[in-house]
């Protein structure tokens, strides 16, 4: 079974993220890393591969530093990596991202399962899995909190606010997983050493037959016209409970007409 996990190299969500002059995410001033939410997809791919004699390919796109995201995934146990590296990619929107990733998945070929996280921790739109599925002509099952692969199909459980659903799709399929699905492993020393010998292919846009004019900031179908920092919230009244805290809270709510 061939599994491709799409991973993203993102600015650390714990740091003060901002924008550059062209209104794209500032990826230089904040340390980057493998998106935390993608670790769950890598872990799930490894579990499925173990049970199904599978091979896990980690796919990313982005600047040279994005290789860090592949490296971490290989250290966790993925078998090989593919990095789409091309200057023209900078500023790509979700539509272009799905074009690049789907073209790369076609070139990797013979893929049974495409796994992703539930969203990136930077853009956070969560639309790329559906777009990938649409471009590849595949079914998608998303926000899985449990995944079972058997007999040519994938079955997932999804917890919504009104109901829990069991959803099945035929393979090949695109599956996104939540952070509830597993506990991603830490790379072991052995894993870190082994990762150094694992193959990573670096492909340009030409290698995956995507025109530079189809991607990047200028080709975006949606464009950011303004970014504005939200004024920091100022601290209001803080009281210390000395037996009267509950009453003071109720008074505040009454004054604000919340009750």
């Amino acid at each position: 079974m061939n599994i491709v996990v799409c991973v993203k190299y993102v600015p650390d969500a714990q740091a003060d993220r901002s924008f550059t002059a062209d209104n794209t995410t500032d990826r230089a001033s904040v340390d980057g890393l493998l998106s935390e939410l993608d670790e769950y997809a890598v872990e799930e791919a490894l579990v499925i591969a173990d049970a199904n004699d599978g091979e896990v390919t980690v796919l990313t796109m982005g600047p040279e530093d994005a290789a860090t995201a592949i490296k971490k995934s290989l250290q966790m146990g993925a078998h090989k990596g593919v990095h789409i590296l091309d200057d023209a990619i900078a500023g790509s929107d979700s539509v272009a991202t799905s074009l690049i990733l789907s073209s790369a998945i076609r070139k990797i070929g013979d893929v049974d399962l495409v796994l992703t996280g539930l969203g990136s921790t930077d853009g956070g739109m969560s639309v790329v899995p559906a777009m990938l599925a649409e471009r590849l002509g595949l079914p998608q099952v998303t926000f899985a909190s449990e995944v079972t692969v058997a007999d040519g199909s994938v079955t997932i459980r999804r917890d919504g606010d009104a109901a829990a659903e069991t959803i099945r799709a035929s393979l090949p399929a695109v599956v996104s997983v939540t952070d509830q699905i597993n506990e991603p492993r830490y790379p072991s020393f052995k894993g870190i050493m082994a990762a150094k010998k694992k193959p990573v292919d670096t492909w340009s846009l030409a290698d995956i037959e995507v025109e530079a004019s189809q991607v990047g900031l200028d080709a975006a179908w949606s464009t950011v016209v303004n970014v504005e920092q939200r004024p920091p919230r100022s601290q209001g009244t803080i009281v210390t409970d000395e037996g009267n805290g509950g009453a003071e809270l109720a008074d505040y709510l009454a004054a604000g007409k919340f009750i």
Partner: protein, 316 residues
């Protein structure tokens, strides 16, 4: 004036508040046209008319409802081709975003998710989104195709604007490819009787400080008619279901009032509640970062403060 398609968010005809918010936004851009997929239109008709739908497209076919998002995307794509709408609005739910993603590729149109505001501008439509844990507001313009925008619940104030909608049944022929994923079974959650997290005007959340006992949080929430949320720490500990998780990897809420009880306020949590209008926190640790952003804070034990506040509210 062009139509603006609004995918109705409903459960068996019970229209969710997001729908009236989307219809209100749609009226700013053109003629609001509701797209109703599934059964239960009789229950929904009145609300759709009250919030200004001038047309209702009715899609009631098991081919669509049994197979998740791909068939709905096909239906919307065919409607787009037929009526060339000014825009397509969908709810910012998991399903809504997935339909939006597929639709964008099908119709070659740009997509924006989690819009908190939408307005017409010269030569197009602009939307606003809150990003990077709510620290930035981004204004985006879609420059290709009929804009596809998912609207974040509780962001746009719904305005009543009565209309008399005409109805049109949409004949669908769903491709086999779109039927490749299907719902095997659905287990409805036991109804809590509380409002839904994303639609509630008040949300009360509990975190690590509850130690697993959400009793005081729920009691306080019920006194306020509020929804109950939880921090990631509380969900990871198994104290509350993931569907109630407020934060970056859960639901993002913008109620009128957000109450954080026993929650320190890590960025993971702030990302999901920072855009709330008013914020209140109760925490034993006066150094908890949540206090930096509150309108009102109580340094104290939630197990004494919340029951006392609840009692006083219930008395009045």
């Amino acid at each position: 004036m062009s139509e603006v398609l609004v995918l109705v968010d409903h459960v068996d005809g019970a229209v969710r508040k997001t729908t009236s918010e989307m219809l209100t936004a749609a009226a700013r851009l053109g003629e609001p046209a509701a797209v109703f997929v599934g059964a239960g239109l009789d229950a929904a008709r009145e609300t759709l008319a009250a919030y200004g739908a001038t047309k209702i497209y009715v899609v009631d076919s098991s081919d669509v409802t049994d197979y998740l998002v791909a068939p709905t995307a096909e239906v919307l794509a065919s409607l787009c081709e037929k009526v060339s709408p000014a825009a397509v609005l969908l709810p910012s739910t998991t399903t809504g975003k997935e339909i939006a993603g597929r639709l964008a590729i099908k119709t070659s149109a740009g997509v924006v998710t989690d819009a908190i505001d939408i307005e017409p501008v010269d030569g197009g439509i602009q939307s606003k989104q809150s990003v990077f844990a709510g620290n930035y507001t981004v204004t985006a313009k879609i420059v290709k195709g009929a804009p596809i925008i998912t609207v974040k619940p509780n962001s746009i104030a719904p305005l009543e604007s009565a209309a008399t909608p005409t109805e049109e049944t949409v004949e669908v022929s769903v491709s086999d490819a779109a039927k490749a994923s299907s719902i095997v079974s659905t287990e409805p959650k036991a109804a809590s009787g509380r409002p839904s997290l994303t639609e509630a005007a008040i949300v009360v959340s509990g975190g690590r400080g509850t130690g697993g006992d959400f009793g005081p949080v729920e009691g306080f929430a019920d006194a306020l008619g509020a929804a109950v949320g939880a921090s990631r720490a509380a969900v990871d500990a198994g104290w509350y279901p993931h569907s109630s998780q407020v934060g970056q990897t859960g639901v993002s809420v913008s109620p009128q009032l957000y109450v954080a009880a026993g929650i320190s306020g890590a960025i993971q949590h702030r990302a999901g509640m920072q855009t709330s209008k008013a914020i209140v926190a109760i925490n034993k640790d006066e150094e908890a970062p949540i206090f930096e952003m509150v309108d009102f804070g109580v340094v104290g034990d939630l197990f004494t403060v919340l029951p006392a506040a609840t009692a006083k509210i219930n008395e009045s």
